[in-house]
């Protein structure tokens, strides 16, 4: 093979590899990126069941129910406008409690309830991941709104 041709071939191959990777990445991203929803978003926009998403809001007061097996819990996430029933099997984080912010990763079922695979909660003020902090902040302000409305 001539030198010029070889360089051109290699450049084209590299380009093809990068375009291929970008296409692969784009298609996988469309399917797999987990979007963030509040209960009101979820009701308004509708989330297809089974898609992995994050649900953020407040744990409704008095809503936590522990099942007899000791490792499954059910609770309700609210944002003051809508509520979603959530079930979770696993060990909840230390700062998971009623009337406090929560972000759950998981998917919706066809009946509109949410099955969480992971529960993120406040670790500690100083080391909270910004994304969670943002969600918590939204939840906290919603909480204040809800209290104002309750009055």
């Amino acid at each position: 093979m001539k030198a010029k041709n070889q360089r051109l071939t290699l450049a084209l191959l590299a380009l093809a590899a990068i375009v291929g990777a970008a296409l692969l990445a784009a298609s996988a991203l469309r399917d797999q990126a987990a979007y963030f929803y509040t209960p009101a978003d979820a009701r308004r926009l509708g989330v297809e069941p089974g898609r992995s998403v994050r649900l953020g809001g407040m744990v409704e007061g008095g809503s936590i129910r522990r099942s007899p097996d000791g490792v499954t819990i059910a609770f309700t996430v609210t944002d003051g406008q809508a509520t979603v029933p959530v079930s979770f099997r696993g060990i909840v984080p230390d700062l998971f409690k009623e009337r406090s912010g929560v972000v759950a990763e998981g998917h919706f079922t066809p009946t509109g309830s949410f099955v969480a695979d992971t529960i993120l909660a406040k670790h500690d003020e100083r080391y909270m991941p910004p994304q969670v902090a943002g969600a918590m902040h939204e939840s906290d302000s919603l909480d204040t709104d809800a209290k104002v409305r309750a009055k």
Partner: protein, 639 residues
């Protein structure tokens, strides 16, 4: 006074970096008499940067609370190890370590590098100084670690308990040595472009430096993976967390560079591409630094959100990466055409290796940056997780590993497919046997882990194949390096696939005296007792694990740290030759039961053993190359 000494050393180091850059520029512009001045300046600059870092460590060890950084991140109640390692368990301290290692890298080049033409070496050290200058400015103007705090508080705020682990003493320094060590390859590339010296000799000079940085990077990533595995208590060994990706991306680029540098050094092909990769590898390190240090990510590593710092690093990134790429664009045309080769050849397989590694790098980069860009553009918060990375990068990685079997068995320049077929027959046969055995013995294994196990068997044999028919005692050390490095990939792959295919998990709530089953293990829950450590209290469970033979005792803890107030979970892990038993204690309930999460992970330890083997392979290659060159130099001197 100590803090001011550190600050003064930092300012002086910055001034010397400026001097080093100016000297190099003038020397290259024609003042030949200045050529000899650059090396000593680089060494002194490194000494001053290291001194500043040593001062910071001292401030942390003696807990000097009049320094703001120490007051925010240290506490006299912490054990000595975490006061020491805590010096880099925060933003400013870790940036100072970054810069100190950058200085150290430049000094090593100045002291040890004798093969490069002197002008290229001076251009290299000039580039190194230019990088240093930007990061010194970042430290001095946006992240001063020696800032005083008046009045000094009575006690410090302590260190994030998740970081209070021996891993903190080992993982960040190793990772940074690799990360920042790649700056040498970057500077070599820029230096060679500036002086128009891109050729096989450049690659031979660059190779040991790339190998060294790559070994540290490999060790750092492996250690970080094991640390996350046992510390986070989630039983996972890789989370595709953006901070992990930030260390994986330079590794992928450096691995590609390692292989293309071999082609350039041996066959004088792929000149421009190798130089490009050297630029990309360290650019990935800098992008990683930006991701981690700007605090824009969702991760435990994001210490604080400070947009000013983010903007500062972003400008540095644009300057250095943009500058290097512009230099490349301007000079790529002057890079002489290298030698050609046939598609079926060692070079061909290494090109395939490079393309696949680059494609994987692209996929990881897109997945890591996409959420940030999406949020910046549309305000939509989204996260890209393991499903994306596994689906997109997994198949390419398996293809890459397949090519790894064939590559070392191909001849340079030109080979025949039929001959290759005969050479890979045995590894392919073993892979087929493994496939049949798995389908019969363990049906229901998912496709990706199944392919992983099958390939691991083939690669393990294939990686040893280059030794066949050789006199083992006369086989060069760098060939052993390649063989062991590739074997390490097979071992790690086997561990990953086995963990993914055969892990058993049990989640139960037990009262004392009750038992649970996980995989072959019968676990009896005996008791929960409160205990106290140096700066924490904990609830500790006592578990007895039994699968016939002597029972094992496991004691997972739920720890509480008062400063800062945090709870962490300390998993108890029992290692057996065939895997690990991993236990975590959760919450207690009113009925006196405790939540327990139990995993049996067959052969999971192979993941990190493989990582260590890969690093050993790198060390052998490095030593082998250096030794061969020294012998060649001696022969030349004797003639």
């Amino acid at each position: 006074m100590t803090a001011e000494l550190g600050l003064a050393a930092l300012w002086l180091a910055a001034a010397l970096a400026l001097l080093q850059l100016a000297l190099a520029a003038m020397a290259l512009a024609g003042r030949e008499e200045l050529l000899n001045g650059v090396r000593p300046v680089a060494v002194v600059q490194a000494v001053l940067a290291l001194l500043a870092f040593a001062v910071l460590i001292r401030l942390f060890v003696v807990v000097d609370l009049s320094v703001e950084l120490v007051a925010l991140n240290d506490a006299s109640t912490k054990p000595l190890l975490y006061r020491f390692a805590g010096a880099w368990g925060n933003h400013e301290g870790s940036m100072l370590m970054w810069v100190a290692i950058l200085g150290l890298s430049g000094a090593c080049v100045a002291l040890l590098e004798r093969r490069l033409p002197e002008r290229t070496l001076v251009a290299t050290l000039g580039t190194q100084a230019a990088i240093g200058l930007g990061f010194y400015a970042f430290l001095l103007f946006a992240s001063n670690p020696f800032q005083r705090l008046v009045p000094a508080p009575a006690e410090g705020q302590g260190l994030n308990p998740l970081l209070q682990d021996p891993g903190l003493a080992f993982h960040p320094p190793t990772l940074y040595l690799g990360y920042v060590g790649l700056s040498i390859a970057f500077s070599f590339a820029c230096g060679a472009l500036l002086t128009r010296q891109v050729d096989a000799a450049l690659a031979r000079a660059m190779r040991p430096w790339v190998l060294g940085a790559w070994v540290f990077l490999t060790l750092g990533i492996t250690a970080g993976s094991y640390w996350a595995y046992y510390e986070l208590g989630w039983g996972g060994w890789w989370f595709w967390d953006p901070v992990e990706n930030a260390s994986l991306m330079p590794w992928l680029a450096a691995t590609a560079l390692l292989h293309s540098v071999a082609v350039l050094a041996t066959r004088d092909s792929l000149r421009a591409w190798t130089v490009m990769l050297a630029v990309v590898a360290f650019s990935m390190s800098m992008i990683g630094t930006f991701l981690v240090r700007s605090g824009i990510l969702t991760s435990v590593h994001a210490f604080a959100v400070d947009p000013r710092r983010g903007a500062f690093i972003l400008v540095l990134l644009a300057l250095y990466i943009g500058g290097a790429l512009a230099l490349f664009a301007a000079r790529a045309g002057t890079v002489q055409e290298g030698r050609t080769f046939e598609p079926v050849s060692r070079e061909g397989s290494l090109v395939a290796n490079n393309l696949l590694l680059s494609a994987i790098l692209g996929i990881v980069l897109v997945g890591t940056l996409y959420p940030l860009l999406a949020e910046a553009v549309t305000g939509e918060k989204l996260s890209v997780g393991p499903p994306y990375f596994n689906a997109a990068a997994g198949p390419l990685a398996l293809l890459l590993v397949t090519i790894m079997v064939a590559g070392p068995l191909l001849r340079w320049r030109r080979d025949r497919l039929a001959a290759l077929g005969r050479r890979v027959a045995l590894p392919a046969g073993l892979a087929l046997a493994a496939l049949i055995a798995l389908l019969v013995a363990a049906p229901g294994v998912r496709l990706l882990p199944l392919l992983g196990l099958v390939l691991a068997a083939g690669v393990a044999l294939g990686s040893l194949a280059p030794l066949w028919g050789r006199n083992l005692r006369r086989t060069p050390m760098f060939t052993w390096g390649m063989v062991i490095g590739h074997l390490g990939v097979a071992v790690a792959l086997a561990g990953m696939a086995s963990e993914s295919a055969f892990t058993r998990e049990t989640l139960v709530a037990l009262a004392p005296g009750q038992t649970a089953q996980v995989g072959p293990w019968r676990i009896r829950f005996d008791a929960v007792e409160p205990i106290a450590g140096p700066n924490w209290t904990a609830l500790e469970a006592t578990l007895q694990a039994d699968r016939g033979g002597a029972p094992l005792l496991l004691k997972p803890q739920a720890r509480f740290f008062p400063s800062p107030p945090t709870e962490t979970s300390e998993a108890a892990i029992a290692t057996r030759w065939d895997g690990q038993l991993y236990t975590v204690i959760g919450k207690g309930d009113e009925a006196g039961r405790w939540q327990l999460r139990l995993w049996w992970k067959p052969f999971v330890t192979l993941i990190w053993l493989g990582g260590a083997l890969i690093a050993v392979g790198g060390v052998l290659s490095l030593l082998g190359r250096v030794r061969r060159e020294r012998r060649a130099a001696e022969r030349l001197a004797w003639l």
